[in-house]
């Protein structure tokens, strides 16, 4: 059985390509000090704004003479930390609200769904910007802001799932034998919504990483000297008439990363959808 499953996963191009990118990214983040050739924070005013390839700097240096490739590798850490933590926040808020709203229905459901409507009335970037404006810059605040913005997806999808699952026989049976609501929600219903949650979370990681880059690009996110891709890119734009590499490569890193998560998420969705059809 297991062998067949793995074969099916490997046949899905989206998962293979996306998964490889994500895996490489994670390895980069973990082994950043080993792979990188320079110190990400050490400035060298004799080697500022070198072009790619000059003086042993594969992607050149930034305005403080720091090795750009090293900065980008360390940037993967920032992106992943922000991505994973903010997705965790949205997931906990969204899944909890979705489970409660779907299970109890009625006024509770109406109340939470109106809140979802209110959140959906903001262009998401705008809400994140407003939140960071209120909280102030810095990595923790960026995580909180992004986490508080993207929970609505989980809430809506989980609620929808719960509405259909709670009518199933096994839930009714659990009710009949006197299981508590808490037990039914977390032991009977939650596991059955897992595949949707995983898909949303995977796609959400890409969205969160772009959001962090955007906030940092606007000067509202991660603060220097932390190696955020968005910030490096924004700062590089000041030198764009002399050399474009400072902005181009961090942008490329963002695209490849987000592409990886998007492909992986799409692939997992296809795989789980097929499963449903086979049932």
């Amino acid at each position: 059985m297991k062998g067949i499953e793995i074969k099916r996963i490997l046949k899905n191009k989206s998962i293979v390509i996306g998964g490889t990118i994500v895996l490489l990214l994670i390895l980069c983040a973990i082994f950043a000090p080993i792979i990188s050739t320079h110190d990400p924070y050490e400035m060298n005013m004799n080697e500022t704004l070198l072009k790619p390839g000059e003086q042993g700097h594969l992607l050149g240096t930034d305005q403080y003479g720091r090795d750009l490739l090293t900065r980008i590798i360390y940037g993967a850490r920032v992106s992943l930390i922000v991505g994973i933590s903010s997705v965790a926040i949205s997931m906990i808020i969204g899944v909890t609200i979705g489970l409660i709203a779907g299970y109890y229905g009625g006024l509770i459901d109406a109340f939470f769904m109106r809140i979802v409507d209110i959140f959906l009335s903001f262009p998401v970037v705008l809400l994140a910007i407003a939140l960071v404006a209120a909280l102030g810059p810095g990595i923790e605040n960026v995580i909180i802001a992004i986490g508080l913005v993207y929970w609505t997806n989980y809430a809506r999808v989980v609620r929808g799932n719960v509405l259909s699952i709670k009518e199933e026989d096994f839930v009714q049976a659990a009710k009949t034998i006197g299981s508590s609501n808490f037990r039914i929600i977390f032991y009977n219903i939650l596991p059955n919504t897992m595949s949707s949650i995983i898909v949303i979370a995977t796609l959400g990681l890409g969205v969160a990483i772009v959001s962090e880059a955007t906030l940092s690009f606007l000067g509202l996110g991660i603060e220097p000297p932390e190696a955020s891709w968005g910030w490096t890119l924004a700062f590089g734009m000041k030198y764009i008439r002399e050399t474009a590499h400072l902005s181009l490569y961090p942008g490329l890193a963002i695209i490849i990363t987000v592409l990886g998560f998007n492909l992986l998420g799409d692939g997992i969705r296809d795989l789980t959808d097929n499963k449903l059809e086979k049932k």
């Binding site: 209110i118 009335s121 262009p123 970037v125 705008l126 955007t214 000067g219 474009a244 695209i255 998007n262």
Partner: protein, 325 residues
């Protein structure tokens, strides 16, 4: 009719919610706005006078009800920094944002609809793969990076288009050109609009392409399409008359949602191209800590988006006879 009233009632609730959320967000800002704005050297007397003037000494509930009351009367308070009403400031920048978003949407549709239809019709051919690669990369690309590429190409290397600023309203320029017969006005205005609108439009096109393709694929599998095919109706007729018209329903909804994305993307795009719209206003106001303006800008954009969503919702009912009854 009853449905419309219901929707309107819901809209009012949502607008109220937005107002409370926006007000509370910026009320929670740590630190005293009076001290931040007047500087550390301000005397206690000056701070007190400022707070009295701005009503910052009242309780949260008092300030909130006063803010909501103001919003109902179209009053969003006064800017901390400029001696002007927030409504005037925001409304003076709104046309630039709307112009950018609308032109971007038109560009997006012009790109996305043909590619989406073609990808669906030629499913699993190289045309489809190319279209989907374009869409997948577009979706993954941060809007500011796309803007940067366009600036690099058109402003720096080719040096044919300006990379920042706005050449006056396109609408006004169009009227001037028509009345005077001089093309200079419209060119002068469009020159500045092209890069930001293209940036935003391409980003949006990537999303819409995927939606158009998915909607078309669904419709193409329908029995009535097969029937038309069996009857010998020509392919182009089937695609336009039978398939695309029915695929329009989900597409219109998505365009409505996409407009919110466009407004959000506009904030970033405006910052890159120094386009004098609401987005840039908000970002500048944040850096100046002019929070009444931030509040006002965010509120106006969110209201606009909520109203657009309602219109799309009603439009959806109009084009889909199955829901109308």
């Amino acid at each position: 009719m009853k449905k419309i009233m219901n929707k309107l009632l819901q809209l009012i609730l949502v607008l109220l919610g937005i107002t409370i959320l926006v007000f509370s967000l910026l009320y929670l800002i740590p630190g005293d706005p009076a001290v931040t704005l007047l500087g550390q050297d301000a005397t206690q007397e000056e701070i007190n006078r400022f707070k009295e003037q701005m009503g910052l000494n009242d309780s949260y509930i008092d300030q909130l009800t006063r803010y909501i009351g103001g919003v109902i009367q179209g009053d969003l308070g006064k800017s901390y920094i400029q001696n002007e009403s927030v409504v005037d400031i925001v409304l003076s920048t709104l046309p630039a944002t709307l112009e950018l978003a609308i032109v971007a949407l038109i560009i997006a549709l012009l790109i996305a609809i043909p590619i989406g239809i073609l990808s669906a019709v030629k499913r699993a051919t190289w045309i489809d793969y190319l279209g989907m690669i374009f869409a997948q990369i577009g979706v993954s690309m941060p809007v500011f990076w796309l803007g940067l590429l366009l600036i690099l190409g058109f402003s720096i290397h080719l040096n044919i288009l300006p990379s920042f600023g706005r050449g006056g309203s396109v609408f006004e320029a169009l009227i001037k050109t028509i009345t005077t017969g001089n093309l200079y006005y419209i060119f002068e205005s469009l020159k500045y609009l092209i890069l930001p609108a293209l940036t935003l439009g391409l980003m949006s096109a990537a999303f819409i392409t995927r939606m158009v393709r998915a909607a078309m694929l669904e419709v193409l599998q329908m029995d009535y399409v097969r029937t038309a095919d069996a009857k010998g109706v020509s392919d182009s007729m089937i695609i336009i008359k039978h398939a695309f018209r029915n695929a329009l329903i989900p597409i219109v909804t998505i365009i409505g949602l996409q407009f919110g994305n466009l407004l959000g993307g506009a904030i970033v795009t405006e910052t890159i191209f120094a386009w004098p719209g609401v987005g840039r206003l908000i970002i500048t106001a944040i850096s100046q800590r002019d929070f009444t303006v931030v509040q006002g800008g965010v509120l106006v954009i969110a209201f606009l988006f909520a109203v657009i969503n309602l219109i799309v919702d009603l439009l959806y009912t109009l084009i889909n006879p199955r829901i109308r009854s």
